[in-house]
Amino acid sequence: MVTPVLSRSIWRYFFRHPWVILLSILGVAIGVAVVVSVDIANTSAQRAFELSLESVTGRATHQVIGSPLGLDEDVYVELKLEFGEVASSPVVEGYVVVEGETLQMLGLDFFSDTYFSEQLSGISNEAMLSLILEPDTVFIAWKTGDRMGISPGDTISISVGGEEKEVRVVDFVGQEEGSTLDGLVTADISTAQEILGKTGYIDRINLILPEEGVLLASIEEWLPEGTTIISTAARNESTLKMTNAFSVNLTAMSLLALLVGMFLIYNTMTFSVLQRRGLIGSLRVLGATRREIFTEVLIEAGVIGFIGTSLGVLLGILLGQGMVKLVLRTVNDLYFVLTVSSFLVSGGIIIKGMLLGVATSIVAAFIPALEAASSPPQIVRFRSIMESLAHRLLPYLSLAGILMMAVSIAVLFLSSKSVLAGFVSLFLLVIGFALCIPVLVEFISRGVGSLMGKRTSILIKMAATGISGSISRTGTAIAALAVAISVVVGMGIMISSFRGTVDQWLGQALQGDIYVTTTSDVSKRSENPLPEDIVTGVMAMDGIEAVKEMKTVYVETASGVVEVRAINTIEQSKREYRLKEGDYTQAWGNFEKGESVFVSEPYAYKGGISLGDSVSLITEEGEQQFMVSGIYYDYSTDQGIVLIPQIIYTEYWHDSTISSMSLYLEDKADKEDIMAAIRAEVAGREGVVVRDNMDIRKSGLDVFDQTFMITRVLEFLVIIVAFIGILSTLMAYQLEKVKEIGVLRATGVTPRQVWGIMSLQTGFMGAISGVLAIPLGIVMSVILILVINIRSFGWSMQMTISSGSIVEALAIAVGAALLASIYPAWKMSRISPAEALREE
């Protein structure tokens, strides 16, 4: 039982030195804020996607879908006649752009038996009638309209595949309390068919069916060739899984920030115990039991943790708003179009953040609490003995660290494809290495001290050996900074290796000189076709040696939707697909004859596909198997691509359109002239763009850099936490060194020299952190590149360690340490020797 007076006697220390408590609260707060914000961003994006799926699927349990070009609308009529008892509704869907924002358009049949989207329940009959009877009329989600300043009755301009169309907004949908509808434009099915250019076609038929039953089997049997029935829940789940690896990576990064925060709390609690060793010693002499001291220190940590965590949660909510935008941008760039207007802060996130922060604080304070409680009273009073204890503890700490690293390696080799196991291994490695850091610091500090010759200034020597002399404090601070810097090194190497690989790949994959493509995806199932006259016109131009034609469609498979690219085979384009597996001559030979397909590396990794295996795709001719003769490098999507010969596509999907052309020019041809000619050809035709390969390459790298922006933000936050760690160490250090500085000042050391010693020592601490962070960072990058990246995305990349990233890490380490030293050094230089010595 801790008595109030005992508690007060201990707590008043913090009131005398408020910065001790403030810095630790700040450290916990930032650590927790990062975790909470990433959690909010992930959950919001996930929820937004669920809502997006919900708003288009409604209560439908199943969907009938056809080829990427859609279902003939007669299929719906026939289904209705055959299975009149089944609630069904045809749907046309696609994307439109309103005021620069991409929105989803849903075309619904309001006469069908069952209306699936409950959100439309609040619409008046008049409004519904207008929508059905009047052409070019739409409903728009209230949240979207409100955001864009659109009111019912307004005529708005919508862009479909680059073409502008005028429509009138009849009413809002989703006006009721708590509605989550956003980013949605709804129209009558015939209006949507016209706007989206799908006259006579529908995208799917929504059905409400019992999960397993005779009815389902009967419909499956009845369905015409080229159509299939899928479960809505299973489909949604597989789509949601797309972003799993991305979320896990972000979460791991945020936990790393908390880990650094944990070092900070440990540091603070150790300092606060060390600072009060005299007080604790006196209390022990007066009769305070070990348990009381132990409990008191843990209570302190709990209180600091609670305050820091509460602030961290608030800060995390603020930070989360920015983070949601970054995550959303990445999801939009890499996966699918999302509108997150629901900023989701659930009780679960808050509770998780609170538990994590408070528990981390208590765990971090456990060792200092034990240290304070277990020492005999007379020992607690002497710092030199405490330092000796710390020195004696170092070998055991290192041993524990080495064991952890061994377990880390074992986890790495024993787990096959688990991303989580990869991260567990990475964390064990980081913690294990961090435990070895104090002994390495001791070694380096003493080594440098002894290397300094007799001619080296004693003040400089003091700066070096002082680190080893206060290892119980400096060791943790250096470990925290080293871990933070290793994140910079590891992530830096990973990102630069990745960027280098992508850059090289773009160079190889963009062999064409000019690209003619459609601008945006109107349909969710296929890219817009290039108008035939443009294709013929361009092909007839002079100076063009060869043309690669491509059509991209999204095809249903057993494991979800897959991107299928159909190409004609020309010699020039073969170089664009570098094979990872497969014999070049044989693979292309089979491909050209239409006997096989290629798959991209991520597709092969995730599906466990090897050469000779088959991929199953649903075509207009029903489900077909295609043999894989090549696995090629591709970094455009982590969802994977099936590359098929154009002849297969035409044969099985009954479609001869193309969505892009790559033009290979003759050697003497003038690129600019040809581009100008093509631009003239497509002038006035909306939705077609002409770009050269350099332009595409640049925008590809821009997307890459944008994607990693969030990683940079997290890296920065990790460094901030470590910076606070160094600052708090130095502040505590300054408090401890008051008398020593007083003696130095009395002996004739000037304030500037005191500043110099302090800066030198801190710079040295930063340099040690930087040096130790380099091997850890490199190993971290190896795990990230060879294990986590492959397990998450299926991409292999060439590892390149640039001297730039190493120098950058060292500069950040020394810079952060020196920056953190400014205030403590200034305070130390201002210590009055008389005051300092009077404390005796």
């Binding site: 050996t465 003696v743 009395a746 002996t747 004739g748 050391v749 304030p751 020797p833």
Partner: protein, 234 residues
């Protein structure tokens, strides 16, 4: 300046006042103190705890400034010097010995002794070694202070105070934190190294044995410095 006077008066305290504020209470520790110390003199300062002895020592050493008055050492008014100049003056001319030794824990014994020399731009290791030998601690030169006994630490502190040949040595209770026998040993060292070398010493103590050391005894009472005869001290 008169040469005779310069020799006879090394330190001059003129109307020195110093007060400290604790909350709203102002403690006037020194009230217009006047004194003159001559070259080679050993002064022992007596007084009750909190009487201002250490404060006076700090003022003479230039590590603190009086509220008013002048302190002239060797013709230099140290109260008129800037912080930086005062530090440089102290570095060259003053040596401190403390009750709690105050050796730098992260420096070896030799480095502790070398520090004042180095600060004065002299890397005279032979002098440091010679002094270490004189106090019989040459074999401990590579040790860190925490390996030494209290008496050994104080001997190091004494040679650190005089290694750079300062004009004044200020000692604040040099035997206050060691046993009687070791204290006697310290006094012997001080006698040998400071008194016999005709150094100026101002010493604060409570000890009768140490007081015997003095050429002159001064008593600080209620902020005023009074002369004391040897007989009525104890």
């Amino acid at each position: 300046m008169d040469k005779k006077k310069e020799k006879s008066s090394l330190i001059s305290l003129e109307h020195i006042s110093k007060s400290f504020t604790e909350g709203s209470v102002v403690h006037r520790v020194l009230k217009s103190v006047n004194a003159e110390f001559v070259e080679g003199e050993c002064i022992v300062l007596l007084g009750r705890s909190g009487s201002g002895k250490s404060t006076l020592l700090n003022l003479i050493g230039g590590i603190d400034r009086p509220d008013s008055g002048r302190i002239v050492i060797g013709g230099v008014d140290i109260t008129a010097l800037s912080e930086h100049r005062r530090t440089l003056f102290r570095r060259k001319n003053i040596g401190f010995i403390y009750q709690f030794f105050n050796l730098i824990p992260t420096l070896t014994v030799l480095e502790n002794v070398l520090l004042p020399l180095e600060l004065n731009g002299r890397n005279d290791r032979s002098r440091a070694l010679e002094l270490l030998d004189e106090v019989s601690l040459l074999d401990r030169k590579a040790d860190y202070p925490d390996r030494l006994s209290g008496g050994e630490q104080q001997r190091i502190a004494i040679i650190r105070a005089l290694v750079h040949d300062p004009i004044i040595i200020l000692a604040d209770e040099p035997t206050g934190n060691i046993d009687k026998k070791t204290g006697q040993n310290i006094l012997d060292v001080m006698e040998r190294l400071i008194r016999k070398r005709n150094k100026n010493l101002i010493l604060v103590t409570h000890s009768k044995e140490v007081a015997k050391f003095a050429d002159r005894l001064l008593l600080l009472e209620e902020g005023v410095l009074k002369k004391r005869s040897r007989e009525i001290v104890w």
